[in-house]
């Protein structure tokens, strides 16, 4: 349970950090909060030759709201965002409360969880649900990657080995939108067996926009496009929401593991989606 030896660097600027990543490529691992990386090092599932600790990099720890969204610096801790979002984006606070436990969130970063891309994690699915983007910087370029393109497989992302996530950007739902978040785990704080985040916007008694993102269900977080489409224009009746939940989990390639077989996950995903949609519909305020 002790990590294999590694070299350690603690750059103070993004420039220094990406220079180290350019020099070491796949041999380097970026250390932010360390709540996923350090266990992987301890279990020797990761054996980088150098750990690039970005915790002392200046300028990455702010939460910057803009008109329609919020930019979250790569070193913003999950606990900080959980508190910030409580009265601004309660969906995010609800989801963050399921990320590990308070001592994990004190240290764990928002961007680190996104970059780690565990398919059972809440934050990647939330980024997908809120049409977020990842800002990645390297010596070559600075680019933005939409969440829909970012997550490519379990612990696999569109990031190149020389790229550092410097920020994640989240779109704020309309003030009158409703939200739902449901998760099933064996114990609170464990990785989700399956979970779902929903944002519903209503206008004149019908669904104007729906966003449904599932996690823990497949190899990456997934948006339920067919269900979202089917809901648009429909009144949020029990039958319409049940049908959307059915569509959201139809064709979903759920995974089987020690904790739950695929069919069980699919069944729970459908039930949780229906409940999250009902929560969101109840919270949504009708817009004229």
């Amino acid at each position: 349970m002790k990590p294999a030896p590694f070299e350690y660097a603690d750059p103070h600027t993004v420039e220094e950090a990406v220079t180290l990543l350019a020099a070491h490529g796949d041999d380097a691992k970026v250390l932010a909060g360390g709540q996923s990386l350090v266990p992987m090092l301890a279990l020797r599932l990761a054996r980088p030759s150098i750990v690039v600790d970005v915790n002392r990099v200046a300028g990455l720890d702010s939460i910057t709201p803009s008109g329609t969204g919020v930019a979250v610096g790569a070193l913003v801790r999950q606990r900080t965002l959980e508190r910030w979002a409580a009265d601004r984006l309660p969906l995010l606070t609800a989801a963050l409360r399921h990320v590990g436990h308070a001592p994990i969130r004190t240290r764990g970063t928002v961007a680190g969880s996104v970059a780690h891309a565990d398919p059972a994690s809440e934050l990647p699915a939330l980024l997908l649900c809120l049409d977020g983007v990842v800002v990645a910087q390297s010596r070559r370029s600075t680019r933005t990657i939409a969440a829909a393109e970012f997550f490519q497989g379990p612990l696999m992302t569109a990031l190149a080995p020389d790229e550092l996530v410097t920020e994640t950007r989240w779109k704020l739902p309309a003030a009158h939108a409703g939200w739902g978040f449901r998760e099933m785990a064996r114990r609170h704080g464990d990785f989700a067996l399956v979970g779902v985040a929903v944002v519903l916007t209503l206008a004149r008694g019908a669904v104007a926009d729906a966003r449904i993102a599932l996690f823990g269900a497949a190899a990456t977080p997934v948006r339920a496009g067919a269900a979202e489409q089917a809901l648009r224009g429909q009144p949020p009746s029990e039958s319409a929401l049940a049908e959307a939940a059915r569509l959201a989990t139809t064709g979903l390639e759920t995974v089987s593991d020690l904790h739950a077989p695929a069919a069980y996950r699919a069944s729970v995903a459908r039930t949780l989606t229906a409940r999250a949609l009902a929560d969101a519909a109840a919270r949504a305020k009708d817009a004229p």
Partner: protein, 158 residues
Amino acid sequence: MTPRTVHLTVNGAPHAVTVEPRRTLTDVLREDLGLTGTHIGCEHGVCGACTVLWDGQPVRSCLLFAIQLDGAALTTVEGLSDGERLHPIQEAFWATHGLQCGFCTPGILLTAKALLDDNPSPDETEIREAIGGNLCRCTGYHFIVQAIVAAARRRTST
């Protein structure tokens, strides 16, 4: 590999330790500083036995490398009591039998301290949520929760 000297303040006392990058804070507290009150359970962030306070916030010391902590101010369980005088939270654990084997106790005491510093009168749900990341394999959670309730009362009444 390449060692580095870092300066830490632990329970108010300054220390300089020279550490290899892969050494966790838990190991440095226990082996280099002799502060064996911080316990090692799972060593990968699951059990909470190694919880310490960094600037008053609870963190897993097994998920931090000591080399990262130059300049940090830490509190371990040894920093709670005032000599022989128990901290009010410790006293509450003693009075309500909030421990059995005691292995998880240091992590729980510090987690409870961080909770009560932030929220002086938590309800039982909030207490259970706060200590959700601390495993007690004696499964004595009921008395632990009561101890924290009692500690909150002692604190608010003094």
